[in-house]
Amino acid sequence: MRKLIKRIKQYNLDAEKRGEYLFTRDDFRDYVENWESELLRGISTLAVLAVIESQGKSYGYEILNELKVRTNNMLILEEGSLYPTLRKLKTAGILDTSIDYEGKRKKINYQLTPYGQQVFNHISGAFTKLMESMSEMFKINVQLQTEKFVYCPNCTMRYSEEDLEKSQRYCSACGFYIAELLNQLNKGGN
């Protein structure tokens, strides 16, 4: 049987004989699997970067476990496919590596480079604002943590208070004047 969507934990084989469920249909499975893989391709990279950012530095196995825990087992990556993704991010200058040894075992830790941090701020800002703007369409509430982050009104680059206090008056991505965002952050508004 072909590979099913990973997050589907159970699949009733009897149903295949009866042909009653959508998952017994090839066209449905193909469509949904393709859609999910397209969706996950971008999101998984962002989620991996989010884990690395929150941990400071992290290695493959730890990143996968952290992803499972923090997404409540919803975002499950094919374990072997994480490493090519990490390598690609390293080649792109977004991640850097350092090596630790645990006994004889070598661990390759990944951390964001300064450029990688900027990339992460931008794509996480874009993703967050997209989620917020789409929330109404799906009847869900997305509450932005406006006391922690603000977003460039022009390009959605994400800034923390610390970023803005580094006398940053113009958005590092698009050059938009953002000095007043610090006041918004202090007020806890967006």
Binding site: Y61, E78, E79, G80, S81, R87, K88, T97, K106
Partner: protein, 348 residues
């Protein structure tokens, strides 16, 4: 003890499966390859320990951990997905692609222009411009197709322009400040270089195609070389194309797959050997060219000088082929030794 051996064996098998399918550029970068494999191996052992939940790791824990890694083919193919897709050729390789197509087509146009000018000077305005344009067009299409296929294959394999630049090691050694006299490492070159194989493949394919498609009909003075010589040159063109294809396959494969590389090198050598009778036939066929035939009647002395000249040239070509044959055999025999010597140099 045998349990432990089996466990290690399973992990090694999995890593071997991945390694075999990794793209060539990654296999060439030994440090990167080592990191990639040790990362996967570390993951399997850690996962096995997690599955074993504090008890000793058993064989079935390892099997489960290996299974959860996914298909080795899929993992390896993920490493190939590099570069930004742009048509069929990646955005990163596109400038090099345009450059190569531009250079080769410019050479074709340039040669045809020179031929046209010479032809016009010799024959006046009777020269058939259309046949030149046709020649330029058909050669350009052929060249365009070959170069495009090569670049599409390189893009699919995830090559980036930096994979064809000089090795990092040389740059690092070169950049050490030389205030104190330092030990100079004797530079060891690899017996096979992907870039050289690829360049050789492209040159052979282009020349082979030119020979096969009778491009000389557009070149003044040699446009009429007779049926016999035309046939032999076309056959020589096929030989050259075969050589190009062998080099192309070699360049796309793992350079440390000694068996496969040796088989291909042997095929290349056999191709060269089989070419010897054709060289002899070619030298005979040259004498049947109408212009030379004409000389045999009008000026027998000049004709015998030409015959001697061709014999000397044939002798040189045969000598070159024999030397090439011995050199190829030496390369085939010493391939592994030379490559391992190169790897040791890289590690040092």
């Amino acid at each position: 003890m045998s349990e432990e051996l089996n466990q290690t064996q399973i992990v090694k098998e999995f890593l071997k499966e991945v390694k075999t399918r990794l793209p060539g550029w990654l296999k060439d970068d030994k440090k990167e390859l080592k990191d990639v494999l040790s990362e996967l191996e570390g993951h399997i052992w850690e996962k096995s320990e997690e599955i074993a939940a504090g008890e000793g790791v058993q064989l079935h824990h390892i099997q489960q951990a290996v299974h959860s890694m996914g298909n080795p083919r899929d993992i390896a193919s993920e490493y190939k997905k590099r570069g930004t897709p742009k048509l069929w050729i990646s955005k990163e390789l596109f400038p090099s692609y345009i450059k190569v197509v531009g250079i080769v087509i410019s050479v074709i146009i340039g040669l045809n222009m020179i031929a046209f000018i010479v032809d016009t000077v010799e024959n006046g305005l009777r020269t058939d411009l259309l046949s030149y344009l046709d020649g330029i067009f058909s050669s350009s299409v052929g060249v365009f197709l070959i170069v495009t296929i090569i670049f599409v294959v390189l893009s699919v394999e995830g090559y980036l322009p930096e994979n064809f630049k000089k090795s990092k090691i040389k740059t690092e050694i070169g950049s050490i400040p030389s205030e104190k006299p330092r030990m100079v490492l004797k530079q060891v070159k690899p017996p096979l270089k992907r870039g050289e194989l690829l360049a050789g493949a492209m040159i052979q394919l282009l020349i082979g195609l030119a020979m096969f498609s009778e491009v000389w009909v557009y070149i003044p003075l040699v446009e009429d070389i007779g049926v016999e010589l035309t046939l032999w040159i076309k056959i020589a063109g096929i030989y050259t194309i075969v050589g190009g294809v062998i080099n192309l396959i070699q360049s796309m494969m793992d350079l440390t797959n000694y068996l496969a590389q040796r088989v291909l090198m042997t095929l290349f050598t056999i191709k060269d050997l089989a070419f010897i009778p054709f060289i002899l036939q070619l030298s005979e066929a040259v004498l049947s060219v109408p212009a030379i035939n004409y000389i045999s009647i009008t000026d027998p002395d000049l004709f015998s000088t030409i015959v001697l000249g061709f014999k000397v040239i044939t002798g040189f070509v045969l000598f070159g082929t024999a030397v090439g044959f011995i050199s190829n055999i030496y390369k085939i025999v010493t391939l592994r030794m030379k490559y391992e010597e190169y790897l040791r140099y890289q590690e040092s």
